[in-house]
C-alpha cells in the first residue's frame, strides 16, 4: 500500500474501506484494498477491465460481503448487507442497468424505498420524491413511462436519479458515462460537481481518463484487484495514470505492434442495416486484424452480429471469400459453415455451457468431424480438446473439468479454442478480454496476433482502448451504428479514437 494521502486532504472522511479482500472461487477480484473518500470529494477509481472496480463498489454498497476487511461510514463499521449500507447513506449506480423494465420511472426511482401509508403506496410522495431527484440531476422524464420504453441513456439517468433520491452521503457511479454521448457526459460531469459541492462524497469509475482529470480530486488506481497507487489528480498527468493502470506491457506491446501486409479480402460487407446499425461497409483481409472502436451502445455488437447473420439484417449483403470462392452469408449457420468463428460479448450467457466439460464445449462447433455416422468419437474428442487446450494455454489443461470451474480468463481461452479447431478463415471477437485478467489477456493477444500471422482474418470489437490500439492493423470507429472514421496504426491513439467515438469534430487539445 503506497502512502495514502489522507494526511494531505483537509476533508472529513465519510466512507472508509479497510483491507478489503474478495475472491470468486479461485480468482482474487479484490486484493487487500483500502480506500477512503471525504465529504465533497469526487474520488476516481480507475483500472483496466477486470481490475476489480465494480466488485469493490458492490462491496462498499453491501451487495457483496468481503472475505476480509470492512466498510465504515463516519467511523462506524457497517453491518454486512445492502440494507445497512443503504441506511448508512451509500447509493450505488450499477455498471449494468438494474431497473425493473415493467415498472414506471417513478417506481424505479424509489424501488426498495417506496413511501407508504399503512403499506399503501403514497403515490403523491412517490412522484414528489422522484420529481425532486430528477430535478436535482436536471433531467425530465415522464414519471409514468415504463422503463422498458426508455433509451439506454435515459435509463442511465433514471438510475442516477434513483441513487440521488435516497439523499445519500456517499454516491458511487460505476462507469455511468459508458453509454452516454459527449453532450450527455458533459452534462453528467457538471451535475456531479454540483452534487459534490453540496458535500456529497462521490466515487467515480470511468475508463475515460479525461473525465477523471476534469472532475476528480484524487484517484485510486487498481490493477488485478490491488491498489497500485493513490494519487492527487492535481499532482499527476493522464499518462502517469494510464501507465499505472496498465503496468509495463502496454508500452512494450505498443512498440511491438506492426503493420500487417494483408492478403486478399475474406469478409466483405456492404450497406449493412439492422436494429441500431445504419449502413455499414466493411472489409477484412486475410492476415489482418481489424479493430472496431466506439462507446458502449454505439452498436458495435449489433453491427458484427448483423454482418455474420447472428441477428437479422434489414438491408445489405455480406460475402465471405475462401480460396477464390465467394459465398453469400445468409444466416449465421451459413457463416459458420463458410469458415467464420464468433466469440460473443457475453461469455457466461452466450459463450460457454458452464456446467459442461471443456471438452464438450470445444466439441460443439467441431461436432461434425468429431463424429462418425452421427456417433461422437470419444477418444478423438479428448485428444482434440487436449491439443487445443494446450494451444490456448488453458490452465490447468484438464478438459474433463466443467467450464464453469475456470476463471474468466481461462473460460475465454476455451471459447476461443472452440473455434481454433475449425481453422476459421475469419474470426470475430466481441470484447475478447472483458473481465479477463492481465496475464490471460496478454496470452489472448499473442494468440490473435499468431492467428493473423497464420493468414486468418480477424475482426475485433473492444471497449478497451489500449487493447484496440495494440492489436489492430486498422481501426474503424463506430457511433450510432455508423463508421465515423477509419484510423491506420500511426493515426490511431487514445485521443483520435475517442474523438471519433464521441463524435467531436475537431479533437480538443489536452
Amino acid at each position: 500500500m503506497s502512502t495514502s494521502p489522507e494526511t494531505r486532504t483537509t476533508r472529513k472522511t465519510v466512507i472508509e474501506a479497510h483491507d478489503i479482500v474478495k475472491r470468486f472461487g479461485g480468482a482474487v477480484a479484490v486484493d487487500h484494498v483500502s480506500i477512503s473518500v471525504g465529504a465533497g470529494e469526487i474520488h476516481a477509481v480507475v483500472g483496466e477491465n477486470g481490475a476489480g472496480k465494480s466488485t469493490l463498489m458492490r462491496i462498499l454498497a453491501g451487495i457483496l460481503t468481503p472475505d476480509n476487511g470492512g466498510v465504515s461510514v463516519d467511523g462506524a463499521v457497517l453491518e454486512p448487507g445492502a440494507k445497512a449500507s443503504l441506511e448508512a447513506g451509500i447509493a450505488l449506480v450499477h455498471q449494468e442497468l438494474s431497473l425493473i423494465p415493467e415498472m414506471t420511472v417513478a417506481e424505479n426511482i424509489l424501488l426498495g424505498a417506496t413511501p407508504t401509508k399503512f403499506g399503501v403506496i403514497d403515490s403523491a410522495r412517490q412522484r414528489k420524491i422522484a420529481e425532486d431527484a430528477l430535478d436535482q440531476i436536471g433531467v425530465s422524464v415522464d414519471l409514468n413511462e415504463r422503463v422498458s420504453r426508455l433509451s439506454v441513456a435515459l435509463r442511465q439517468f433514471v438510475e442516477i436519479a434513483r441513487a440521488v433520491a435516497r439523499s445519500p452521503r456517499v454516491l458511487i457511479l460505476d462507469e455511468p458515462t459508458a453509454t452516454l454521448t459527449p453532450a450527455e457526459t458533459d452534462y453528467l460531469l457538471n451535475m456531479l460537481q454540483r452534487l459534490a459541492a453540496k458535500g456529497l462524497a462521490i466515487i467515480y469509475i470511468s475508463h475515460r481518463i479525461p473525465e477523471v482529470f476534469r472532475i476528480c480530486e484524487r484517484a485510486t488506481i487498481l490493477r488485478d484487484g490491488k491498489v497500485v497507487d493513490n494519487l492527487i489528480i492535481a499532482e499527476t498527468t493522464p499518462n502517469a495514470v494510464i501507465d499505472k493502470m496498465v503496468g509495463r506491457e502496454l508500452k512494450l506491446d505498443l512498440q511491438t505492434r506492426r503493420v500487417a501486409n494483408p492478403g486478399a479480402v475474406v469478409l466483405s460487407a456492404r450497406g449493412i442495416r439492422a436494429f441500431r446499425v445504419n449502413g455499414i461497409d466493411l472489409d477484412v483481409r486475410a492476415g489482418e486484424i481489424v479493430g472496431i472502436g466506439g462507446l458502449v451502445g454505439a452498436g458495435r455488437s449489433e453491427l458484427v452480429r448483423a454482418i455474420i447473420g447472428v441477428d437479422p439484417r434489414t438491408a445489405g449483403t455480406a460475402t465471405i471469400t475462401v480460396d477464390g470462392q465467394t459465398k453469400n452469408i445468409q444466416g449465421y449457420g451459413s457463416a459458420v459453415r463458410a469458415g467464420i468463428g464468433f466469440i460473443p460479448e457475453e461469455r457466461r450467457t452466450e459463450g460457454l455451457a458452464l456446467e459442461m466439460s471443456v471438452a464438450d464445449n470445444i466439441t460443439l462447433p467441431n461436432r461434425a468431424f468429431l463424429s462418425k455416422g452421427g456417433f461422437l468419437q470419444r477418444g478423438k474428442i479428448t485428444e482434440f480438446a487436449t491439443r487445443l487446450a494446450a494451444e490456448v494455454g488453458l490452465r490447468p489443461p484438464e478438459v474433463g473439468r466443467d467450464a464453469g470451474q475456470y476463471s474468466g480468463g481461462n473460460q475465454q481461452k476455451v471459447v476461443i479454442a472452440k473455434w481454433l479447431g475449425r481453422e476459421p478463415k475469419l474470426i470475430v471477437l466481441d470484447e475478447p478480454t472483458r473481465g479477463v485478467d492481465v496475464g490471460a489477456k496478454a496470452e489472448i493477444h499473442r494468440l490473435l496476433r499468431g492467428l493473423a500471422d497464420g493468414g486468418t482474418a480477424v475482426l475485433v470489437i473492444s471497449s478497451d482502448l489500449p487493447e484496440l490500439l495494440e492489436l489492430s492493423d486498422v481501426i474503424h470507429v463506430v457511433r450510432d451504428g455508423r463508421i465515423m472514421g477509419t484510423l491506420s496504426p500511426d493515426e490511431a491513439n487514445e485521443r483520435s479514437v475517442m474523438a471519433l467515438a464521441a463524435g467531436e469534430k475537431v479533437a480538443s487539445s489536452s
Binding site: A61, I63, A82, K83, L86, L92, H94, L97, S98, L99, I100, P101, E102, M103, E107, L111, G112, A113, T114, T116, G119, V120, I121, S148, R149, L150, S151, V152, R273, A274, F275, P312, R313, T314
Partner: protein, 322 residues
C-alpha cells in the same frame, strides 16, 4: 394498433373476449340473460387463476392448486362445526402455500418440481382423510343458505370472486408489497440489490395463492354441501389457461390480474355458451386447446422478435429482460 395490442399484455385476451362475446351475442344470447349463471362459471374458472397470477408474476409456478382445493374441501367437510371448518380449511391453504414457499425459497427447489411433489402428496392426503369418498357437510342447511342467490342472481361465489379481485388488484397495484412482485419477477437480482425482501415476497405470493385455492375449495364444498376428494382435477389446467390467455408472462415481471380476469371471462363465457348450445365436452376441450396454442404462439414478445426477424426494424427499445 398492432403495437398497442402488443404493448398491453392483456391485448390478446381482450381480442378473444370480443370474439367470444360477439359469437355468443349472435348464437346464444341466453348466456347474457342468465348472467348470474355465466358469472358463476367465470368465478369457477377465475378464482384460482387470480391466486396463480400472483405466483406467475414472480416467475414461479404452483401446480398444487387443484390438490389444495380438494384437501381444504375435505378438511372443511370433516369438521362438524361449519364456521370452525371454514377457518381450518383456509388455514390449511395458507399452510400449504407456506410449505411450497419453504421448499422453493429456503430449500431452493425449482417451483415447478416442488409443487409437482405437493400436487401428488396433497391429493393423497385428501384421499386418506376422506377414505376416497365424498364427505358430506354435517350442517347442511347453513351450507345451503350459502349456495343461494344473494342479490338478484348473484351467488356468494360471484360476490367473493369480485371482492377478491378488487382486493388483490388493490394489493398488486397500490400496495408496496404487491407492487414489488413485479420487481421480483422482472429482475430478481436488481430487486435484491435494491433491498427488497425477495424471499418474503415469494412467501407472500405462494401463501396468497394457497389461500385463494383454499377459498375455492371452501366455496365448492359449501355450494355442493359436500367435499369430493377427486375435486379440482380440472381446476389447475383451467386456471392455468386463464392466466396464460390473460397475457401473463411465465418468466414473471409482465402481466396483470386484469388480464387474468379477462382471460377467465373469455374462457367462462365460452364454456357456458357451448354448454347452452349442447356442444360435446370434447369440442370445448379442443376449442380451449386451440385458443391456448394461438395465445402462446402469439406472445407479444415473440411476435415482436419474429416481426423483427422478418422485416426487422421495430423502432423503439429492446426490453433486456423480456
Amino acid at each position: 394498433m398492432k403495437n398497442a395490442v402488443a404493448r398491453r399484455t392483456e391485448g390478446r385476451a381482450v381480442i378473444l373476449l370480443i370474439l367470444v362475446v360477439g359469437v355468443i351475442a349472435v348464437q346464444q344470447p341466453i348466456v347474457f340473460n342468465a348472467y348470474g349463471v355465466s358469472l358463476a362459471r367465470v368465478a369457477l374458472v377465475g378464482l384460482v387463476a387470480l391466486g396463480l397470477t400472483l405466483v406467475v408474476l414472480q416467475g414461479e409456478l404452483d401446480l398444487s392448486v387443484g390438490s389444495t382445493l380438494a384437501l381444504t374441501g375435505v378438511v372443511v367437510a370433516s369438521i362438524p362445526d361449519l364456521g370452525l371448518g371454514i377457518i381450518a380449511g383456509l388455514v390449511t391453504g395458507v399452510a400449504i402455500g407456506a410449505l411450497n414457499a419453504f421448499l422453493i425459497v429456503v430449500v431452493g427447489v425449482n417451483s415447478f418440481i416442488a409443487t409437482l411433489g405437493t400436487l401428488f402428496a396433497l391429493r393423497g392426503l385428501a384421499f386418506v382423510m376422506s377414505d376416497g369418498r365424498p364427505v358430506r357437510i354435517t350442517d347442511i342447511d347453513s351450507a345451503l343458505v350459502f349456495g343461494r342467490e344473494l342479490l338478484g342472481p348473484i351467488t356468494p361465489r360471484v360476490l367473493i370472486f369480485i371482492l377478491l379481485f378488487v382486493m388483490l388488484q388493490f394489493f398488486i397495484s397500490k400496495m408496496r408489497a404487491g407492487r414489488e412482485f413485479y420487481a421480483v419477477g422482472g429482475n430478481r437480482q436488481a430487486a435484491i440489490d435494491a433491498g427488497i425482501p425477495v424471499k418474503l415476497r415469494l412467501f407472500t405470493s405462494f401463501m396468497l395463492c394457497g389461500f385463494v385455492a383454499a377459498l375455492a375449495g371452501v366455496i365448492n364444498t359449501l355450494e355442493l354441501t359436500a367435499a369430493d376428494p377427486t375435486a379440482g382435477s380440472t381446476v389447475l389446467l383451467a386456471s392455468f389457461a386463464a392466466v396464460i390467455i390473460g397475457g401473463n408472462l411465465l418468466n414473471g415481471g409482465r402481466g396483470s390480474l386484469v388480464g387474468t380476469l379477462i382471460g377467465a371471462f373469455a374462457l367462462g363465457l365460452m364454456q357456458v355458451g357451448l354448454t347452452f348450445a349442447g356442444a360435446d365436452r370434447e369440442v370445448q376441450d379442443v376449442l380451449i386447446g386451440i385458443v391456448l396454442l394461438v395465445a402462446i404462439t402469439t406472445d407479444p414478445n415473440n411476435l415482436r422478435a419474429l416481426s423483427r426477424r422478418l422485416q426487422g426494424l421495430v423502432r423503439g427499445k429492446t426490453n433486456q429482460q423480456a
